[in-house]
């Protein structure tokens, strides 16, 4: 009888622990693919070395919408020609400015089309409340893309928005954020 | 017979070959439905004849009808385990199996019916507590689980399985707790039968279905419960009879059947009394307050004949046949009455599903008609085939009918 019992418990445990290892360890690795930004953009060079302010590039438009990442045309106001030594800059000028193409930047906090996020309604908050703090980075962080949903790993979930809204007394009505 | 040792003790079953042919016939129907299912999952509901006017059609009608007819399960359970009508033990197993088929079948159809099956679980995760449909989703799921629990001991009683001591004890323990599950089942079932009715009764934008009521429950809530228990037992009894005709063996004593008929008949009388009252109030008070008349609720296709068929031919007549012992004791009349009873309830569910949305509420809109297409029929038959399969296997391998040995 004792032998029979161990014969039941042990495989159960092996299965149980095995599943935990797979589920917590391996699964997240399988679920996300790692991606690098198309251009190694250095915030540090722009902020520290050139002394630029955040809102020189990340501006609000006159209709109140947020421009997000500047367009190639806007970058080319400075980078019409290669200015420095950095090969990343040369690549940018060559492949995007000269070709008049937009850079397919990967947005860490990209929200899907069904979300209407108004930056101007949240302008009293620090950018880093929601966005990763990249302001001083020299190399942009790795971007993790969910292979099933296609979302960035850092995309805020709805419950996070709702929690903050609730804490700040903002409405959690569906149409406050959805479109 | 290669499966002899799996068959219940002391009963005769047809040869395995014959059984295999029977399964193959079911399989063909099932495969046809499976093909339709594939088409629907792959291409969406455009494969059906549903449209923006008729968002609900054959499937919802079928769901509501089988849930009503499957009410035999909970109500027989209630009568046997809680009220204590012992005679029902002769048919209670069948009632449970039929109930299980009806409920699991409904859930399968529902996953087809929603536009985004992958989000089906939102119903549990993001429930809107004000929606009658939420109540339906929860109760049906829970009750389906109860039915599974009730079905398991019947499966465990298979001769071969029952040789295992553990299984034997398990089955026994299940039986001990059966009254508890019967109670839970009764509670859940009453609620969702009611919620299904409530689903229509609350539609205050749809004069055909809208009913006032008690607290948050429109009258249809109670009427749906009543009509379900008035037809469920009759349906179970009819299934037993159908199985007898197919297998050529006596499975349930006529007394038990007549008892089921009597139960159904009495409840039908009870139901009809209130249904007539409700219809009268709706026609003479609810509708005029919306500026509508009873006559406006019907057109050439969805005519009054449906109402008279539902309440007269398939209401009053079977009620009389079932409650009067003289009629009830004539098998032909008992079966006829049971069939009419079931048809009446199907008509009821049909008009509430389809006629409700066919009636043009805006005065400048017009009546449209709905006809299901092959894909809707195929999937419906798929569920029927699934039911036949479960029933056939259960009959062949499980001791469903305690009286079978003595009757044959």
């Amino acid at each position: 009888m004792a032998k029979g019992k161990s014969c039941v418990v042990l495989p159960f445990l092996i299965g149980f622990v095995g599943a935990l290892i797979v589920g917590w360890g391996l699964f997240p690795k399988l679920l996300y693919s790692e991606k690098a930004q198309p251009i190694r953009f250095s915030h540090k060079v722009h902020v520290e070395d050139q002394g630029m302010a955040c809102d020189e590039c990340h501006t609000f438009r006159e209709d109140g919408s947020f421009a997000g990442i500047p367009t190639t045309e806007e970058c080319a106001e400075c980078h019409a020609e290669v200015m420095g030594e950095d090969p990343a800059e040369a690549k940018f000028v060559e492949e995007y400015v000269n070709e008049d193409r937009e850079v397919p930047w990967l947005i860490y906090q990209k929200q899907p089309d069904n979300v209407f996020f108004s930056h101007i309604a949240h302008q009293d908050f620090d950018c880093t409340t929601c966005h990763p703090d990249v302001g001083n980075s020299d190399t942009p962080p790795v971007y993790y893309e969910n292979k099933i949903s296609g979302y960035s790993k850092q995309t805020m979930k709805m419950w996070q928005c709702e929690r903050c809204h609730a804490q700040n007394g903002a409405s959690n009505a569906c149409y406050v954020c959805h479109k | 017979m290669i499966d002899r040792e799996w068959l219940p003790e002391g009963v005769e079953r047809c040869s395995f070959g014959k059984f295999a042919v029977w399964l193959a016939i079911i399989g063909v129907v099932f495969a046809w439905g499976l093909y339709a299912t594939y088409r629907i999952f792959a291409n969406g509901l455009i494969e059906t004849n549903l449209d923006n006017y008729f968002g609900f059609g054959l499937w919802i009608t079928f769901d509501l009808a089988v849930i009503a007819l499957g009410a035999g399960a909970f109500f027989s359970g209630f009568l046997k385990y809680i009220v204590g009508i012992e005679e029902l033990k002769n048919i209670i197993n069948l009632a449970v199996i039929v109930g299980f088929i009806c409920y699991s079948g409904t859930m399968l159809i529902l996953t087809l019916d929603i536009g985004q099956p992958l989000r089906a679980w939102f119903g549990y995760w993001h429930p809107n507590v004000h929606s009658m449909l939420t109540e339906v989703i929860f109760c049906i799921t829970c009750y389906c689980m109860v039915l599974i629990i009730e079905y398991i001991p019947i499966i465990l009683e298979n001769r071969k399985l029952n040789q295992n001591k553990f299984i034997h004890n398990l089955a026994h323990n299940f039986h001990v707790f059966m009254p508890l599950f019967a109670g839970i089942g009764t509670f859940l079932s009453t609620f969702h039968q009611g919620s299904l009715g409530g689903m229509y009764g609350v539609l205050f934008g749809r004069p055909f279905a809208y009913r006032e009521g008690f607290f948050i429950w429109p009258w249809t809530f109670f009427l749906f419960v009543a009509s379900a228990i008035a037809s469920g037992p009759a349906f179970t009894m009819l299934i037993a009879t159908l199985m007898e005709k197919i297998t050529g063996r006596k499975l349930v004593s006529y007394e038990t059947k007549a008892l089921m008929g009597k139960i159904a008949g009495s409840l039908l009388c009870f139901y009809l009394f209130f249904k007539f009252l409700d219809t009268w109030y709706w026609a003479t008070d609810t509708l005029p307050r919306m500026g509508l008349t009873f006559d406006q609720m019907f057109n050439d296709v969805y005519g009054k004949w449906l109402l008279w068929a539902e309440l007269g031919l398939c209401g009053v007549i079977p009620a009389i046949l079932l409650v009067v012992p003289k009629f009830r004791n004539i098998p032909f009349l008992l079966y006829t009455a049971a069939i009419l009873d079931c048809i009446g309830i199907v008509i009821n569910r049909f008009v509430f599903t389809v006629q409700t949305i066919a009636f043009p509420v805006m005065p400048f809109d017009k009546w449209y008609s709905y006809v299901p297409n092959w894909a809707e029929w195929a999937t419906t038959f798929e569920i029927l085939a699934y039911g036949a399969l479960v029933l056939s296997l259960s009959y062949r391998y499980l001791p469903v009918f305690p009286q079978e040995k003595e009757l044959n």
């Binding site: 569906c174 | 549903l50 993001h126």
Partner: protein
């Protein structure tokens, strides 16, 4: 569920006597809200038209016959029959302004709301949306593209409300106290005869608030208790009478 009282109540008054049935509102709505064109539009039970123009007849023979056109957006009911029945909270009336929301990523496509709405304002995506090659380049950023299998409906071009609020914030104005023309849905803006007027029903200065009080104003199926935020206007009694169900002896509203 108790109806919520809102400070701002966006509403429409549609003057039927001015509607020529030209259909510009229907086209503008499709373009604004990314509704994919259909090759065959003759089965009106399969088409997807957030805004739909009905043709009304007084039912009399020529020459007493008269016709009218009735554009039908979503009524944004004060007491919606649809949102309360949704099992998954995919449609709600909870935001200031009183617009009934429809959240496509939440909707499971059960179509119960469609069965509940007596105005046929709700539409199901029977097809995956498909644009002729290249035409997807004209997609507006205002409205997300809906996959097949979910329900959708007119939102009073809710995104325009969002845009107006953003603009007000940028200009340091109160986003909840918008000027009358700051937010107008596409249909109302494009209507060549100005038959569709839009504004805040709770603001007595707004045209809609004044028009809605006229004795010629009425709402569709008011007697059902849906309390729509869309009003209609017609000086023709027969038109007003078709706005609701009346027993033969009952007087038409406004008479």
């Amino acid at each position: 569920m108790e109806a919520i009282e809102f400070k701002v109540k966006w509403g429409m008054v549609i003057n039927i006597d001015k509607c020529t049935g030209c259909g510009a509102c229907m086209v503008a709505c499709q373009a604004e809200n990314n509704i994919a064109p259909m090759v065959d539009g003759s089965d009106k039970r399969m088409t997807l038209t957030w805004m739909l123009v009905y043709e009304l007849s007084n039912g009399k023979p020529f020459p007493e016959h008269d016709i009218a056109y009735l554009p039908r957006p979503c009524m944004q009911c004060g007491k919606p029959s649809c949102s309360t029945v949704c099992p998954v909270i995919a449609t709600t009336k909870d935001e200031e302004g009183g617009i009934v929301s429809q959240i496509y990523p939440r909707c499971i496509g059960c179509r119960y709301c469609m069965a509940a709405c007596p105005y046929h304002s709700r539409y199901f995506n029977w097809y995956d949306p498909k644009w002729p090659a290249g035409m997807e380049k004209t997609l507006n950023i205002s409205t997300s593209v809906r996959p097949r299998g979910v329900v959708e409906k007119c939102t009073f071009c809710h995104h325009r409300f969002m845009y107006a609020k953003e603009k007000a914030r940028y200009n340091g104005e109160d986003p909840m106290d918008l000027p009358e023309d700051a937010y107008i849905p596409a249909c109302a803006e494009i209507c060549p005869t100005g038959a569709i007027v839009f504004g805040n029903l709770n603001n007595p200065e707004h045209k809609v608030a004044k028009l809605a009080k006229s004795k010629y104003a009425f709402r569709l199926l008011e007697r059902l208790g849906t309390d729509p935020q869309v009003y209609y206007y017609s000086e023709r009694e027969w038109v007003r009478r078709q706005g609701d169900n009346y027993l033969p002896h009952e007087k038409t509203k406004g008479e």
